[in-house]
Symmetry: C2
Subunit: 458 residues, 2 copies
C-alpha cells in the first residue's frame, strides 16, 4: 500500500503550483454567512465548487440555490453492491472583524513559508480544499472510485446550518450512505494525526435590556433611572459563580457522566505552556473543579460572545444609556438538549429583570446537539489505518470542544457510521484575525482522504 501513497504524493506534487492558485481562488470569495450583504459572494463560491466538480466528472446539484446554495456532488458508478461514503464540509466563513488586527486583507490570501493566511484558510475552506483535491485527483488518476462517493458542502455552517437543517428530511434519500465523514475537525500537534470521537453541542441567544426610552443625563437622573448596563452586568454575572459553575437552574440536570471505558481511550494530556504561548492567558476559564480538557471536552460552558451599550467612543459621555445588549452561546455535552437549555437560560434571565428595566432574550436558530462517535466502526478503523500510513504513526483519539451542529441532525436523518476528522491546529486562529493553514496539511489531508477511500473498498 505504500506504493499507492507515493503515487498519490507524486500526483499532488506534480501540480502543486496550480493547486495553490486554485486554493487562493477559493479563499478570495467573501463567503461570510452571518452577513446578509454577502449572499452573492456565497453564491459565487458555490458556483465555483460546482464548476470544479462537474469538470471532474461528478453529478452536481445546488440545493437552496436562490438563498445560500448547498453543493451536493455524487459519483456513484461503483453501484449499489458497494458501500457509500458521504463527506461533509462547508465553504462559508466567519466574519472578519476586528479587521484592524489582521496583518493583511483576510480575502487576499498569501503564503508565507508553509502557512497560507486568509479568512477560512483552515475553517473550513482549507479542509474543504484537500477533500476537493482528493476527490478530483483520485478520479483523474483512477478514472473511477471503488466505492460510491457523495459530498455535501454547505454555506451556512458558521450561522447554524439553518438552510441544510430545513431540507434534511426532504433530501434523506439523496444523503443515504454507509459512512459519514465530517472533515471540519482538528489535531493537537502537526506531527500527530487525531481522530475526534465527539463534539459539543451549541445553543445561542441575544439579551436586550431596555432602560429609559432614550439616553438620559447621568447627573440629573443618577439615582432615579435604573441603568440598563447595571442590569445587564448583574444578569450576566449571575449566570456563573466565582468558581465558574453555571447557576442557571436545571442547566446541569441532563449532563451524563461519561463511562470510564468510553473516556479511557481519549488523551486528556494538556500542554499548559503551549496554551499560554498561543493565547497569552493561563487556562483559567470554565469550572475550576475539573481539569483543563475535562472543562473543554466533557463539560458545558456559557460564554458571552459580545456586549454593547451606551457610549463607546473617545473620551467620556455622562449618560445613563437607553439600552444594553449581549450575545451569549453555550457549548453542550451529552445529553443536554439545545432547545431546552436555551429555554432555561431565557426563563432565568427574564425572571431576574430588576424593576425599572425590560429584559428580552431572543433564542437564535442554528442549535446543535452534542455528538459521540463509535471508535469500533469501520469508518473510524479505516481512517485510523489511513492516518497511520500517511503520518507513519498511529493517530490519537480526542474530543472537540467546538460544535458542528449539522452532524447530529445528519445522524438523526440517515442511518450511518460517523467519523470526525480534520487537520486544524490551535495556532490556526480560526474565528480570529490572521487565520492560517499549513500547505503541508493540504497534502496530508489529500493523502488521507485518498487512502481512506481505498480502505473502505476492502
Amino acid at each position: 500500500m505504500s506504493t499507492d501513497n507515493n503515487d498519490y504524493k507524486n500526483l499532488f506534487r506534480a501540480q502543486e503550483k496550480e493547486l495553490l492558485e486554485e486554493f487562493f481562488s477559493f479563499l478570495r470569495f467573501q463567503s461570510i454567512s452571518a452577513d446578509p450583504t454577502k449572499r452573492p459572494e456565497l453564491q459565487s463560491c458555490a458556483a465555483w465548487l460546482e464548476k470544479k466538480l462537474i469538470e471532474s466528472g461528478f453529478q452536481v446539484e445546488l440545493w437552496d440555490k436562490k438563498e445560500t446554495p448547498i453543493v451536493f456532488a455524487t459519483h456513484t458508478d461503483a453501484g449499489s453492491s458497494k458501500p457509500t461514503l458521504l463527506l461533509y464540509n462547508h465553504y462559508d466563513v466567519q466574519p472578519v472583524d476586528p479587521l484592524n488586527l489582521w496583518h493583511s486583507d483576510p480575502f487576499a490570501p498569501r503564503k508565507e513559508g508553509n502557512l497560507v493566511y486568509a479568512r477560512g484558510a483552515q475553517d473550513n475552506k482549507g479542509q474543504c480544499f484537500y477533500v476537493l483535491t482528493a476527490l478530483t485527483l483520485y478520479l483523474k488518476k483512477n478514472k473511477k472510485f471503488p466505492i460510491n462517493i457523495k459530498w455535501i458542502v454547505e454555506g451556512e455552517e458558521e450561522s447554524g446550518s439553518t438552510g441544510l437543517a430545513k431540507i434534511l428530511k426532504e433530501k434523506s434519500k439523496e444523503l443515504e450512505s454507509d459512512y459519514l465523514m465530517v472533515v471540519d475537525l482538528g489535531m493537537r500537534k502537526s506531527d500527530l494525526p487525531a481522530i475526534t470521537l465527539g463534539t459539543r453541542g451549541l445553543t445561542s441567544m441575544e439579551i436586550d435590556v431596555q432602560g429609559p426610552k432614550s439616553d438620559l443625563h447621568s447627573g440629573s437622573n443618577g439615582g432615579l433611572s435604573y441603568n440598563p448596563i447595571h442590569a445587564i452586568t448583574a444578569l450576566l454575572s449571575s449566570l456563573r459563580d466565582e468558581r465558574g459553575t453555571i447557576k442557571v437552574p436545571g442547566f446541569y440536570d441532563t449532563v451524563i457522566t461519561p463511562k470510564t471505558e468510553e473516556i479511557s481511550k481519549i488523551n486528556f494530556d494538556f500542554n499548559v505552556q503551549e496554551f499560554e504561548e498561543h493565547t497569552g492567558q493561563p487556562p483559567t476559564g470554565g469550572e475550576q473543579k475539573f481539569s483543563p480538557l475535562e472543562r473543554a471536552w466533557l463539560r458545558p460552558t456559557i460564554e458571552i460572545n459580545g456586549i454593547g451599550g451606551g457610549y463607546q467612543g473617545p473620551g467620556g459621555k455622562t449618560i445613563i444609556p437607553a439600552h444594553a445588549h449581549a450575545k451569549i452561546s453555550c457549548r453542550l455535552v451529552p445529553n443536554q438538549d439545545p432547545k431546552e437549555i436555551a429555554a432555561l437560560i431565557k426563563k432565568y434571565l427574564e425572571s431576574q429583570a430588576p424593576s425599572g428595566v425590560q429584559v428580552k432574550v431572543t433564542i437564535h436558530d442554528g442549535m446543535g446537539k452534542p455528538v459521540r462517535t463509535n471508535i469500533d466502526s469501520k469508518i473510524v478503523k479505516a481512517l485510523e489505518a489511513a492516518c497511520t500510513e500517511v503520518w507513519g504513526k498511529e493517530p490519537e483519539y480526542i474530543l472537540e470542544g467546538a460544535s458542528i451542529p449539522i452532524v447530529s441532525e445528519l445522524s438523526e436523518t440517515i442511518d450511518t457510521e460517523i467519523a470526525l476528522f480534520g487537520l486544524g491546529l490551535q495556532t490556526d486562529n480560526i474565528h480570529s484575525p490572521n487565520e492560517c493553514f499549513g500547505w503541508d496539511r493540504i497534502e496530508k489531508g489529500f493523502l488521507t482522504i485518498c487512502k481512506t477511500i481505498d480502505l473502505l473498498a476492502t
Copy 2:
C-alpha cells in the same frame, strides 16, 4: 420695578426675529469638546462670541486660543467702588450619538412651536444665549452697567473643563469678583423658577479587561480561556449590591449627612408620573433605602456610561473576545473628594481581577467637587427677587444631581458668593437625542439677568 421689566420685555420683543436667527447661528457650530476632530468648530464658535461681545462694547480676551478657547469678556466702567458680577457659561456641547434617534440634524436648528431643537439648544448654548442677549441689550439700552460685569464662556465643560482648570490660578486676578453666577442649571416646572443650592461632584474612569491576546473560538477554548466579558460583568456588578448600595470599600466614608436646617428649605417633592412619562421607567435607580430626590440630590452614584467587547454585529459570532471595556462615572456629594473616590474604585476593581485576565482602570481628567451655596448671600437674594418679578411668583429652592466641575475650582480660586441658576427642564433631552429649549425661556432668562444686574447695584 415692573416698568423696567416691561421695558426689557419690549426691548426683547422688538428684535425677536433677529435674535432667533442669531441663536440658530450659535447652534450651528458643532462644538463637541469630547471629539478631537471638532477643534476648529470650537474655535469658530468662540470667535463668533468674541465678535458679538466686541461689537457690543465689551473688552474680550480669548484664553487658550490655540487649543479650546475660553472667552473672557469684561465691562468694568462702573469702577472699583461698585461690586463685580462674574457670569459663567459654556459653548461646548455633548456628542450627538446615537444619531439615528434624532428627528432632525442636531446641528441644523429648527423651531417647532415654542421649542428650538438642536444639540446644545439648552445645555448650554440656550442658557448662554440669554446671558449674551441680556448683556448686549442691557448695554444697548442703558449705555452702561451699574456694576462691573465679567463673563467667562468656556469650551470644555462637557469634557471636564481641563483647559480652564489649568489656568485658573494664573487668571485669578482677572476673575476676581464679588458674585459668581453660574447659568447652567435647571428648574422643575416651566412656570416655577428655581434656584439651585448645590450640585453633585463628578469623577470618571475607564476599565479595560484583556483576556486572550486575540479573539478565540468559543468552542475549542470554552472552558480553557477566561472570557474578559465574564470578568468585566462580574467586576461591574460587584460595584453595587441588589439594593443599589455601592460596595467599593471606603466609598461612603466621607459622605456627610446634611443638617436638617440646611435641607428644610429644599423642596424634595417628586412627581413619579412625570418621571415615568418622560423616561418610560419608574424611578427605581440608586439606593433603595432613600426617597427619589434624596437619591438624586443627597446621595452619590456610580453609573456605567458605556460598555463594549466582542462581536456586536448582526447574527452571532462564537468567540471568546480578546478584550472588553467600560466607561464609569460617579456623582459625588459633600465631602467626597473626586480623586480619592476614583482611586478607591481603581484599587477595588484592579484587586478583584480574576486569574487569567488583566484589568486596568484609567482615571479621566475633569473631575469636580460637590458644591453647596449660601441661601442668605446677596447674590442669591437678588436672584430670588428677580425671579419673583419675572415669573410673578417666588422661586423654589432645589439641588441638582448633575455636576459643574469648574464651579468648585472657581470657588476655591476666588473669594466670591455663588448663585447657581438656569432654566433647564427635564424634558429638554440634554445629553440625549432631540435636545430642545423653549424660546419663552430665552426671554425669561434674558429678563432675569437684566433684573439681577439692576438689583445687585442697589
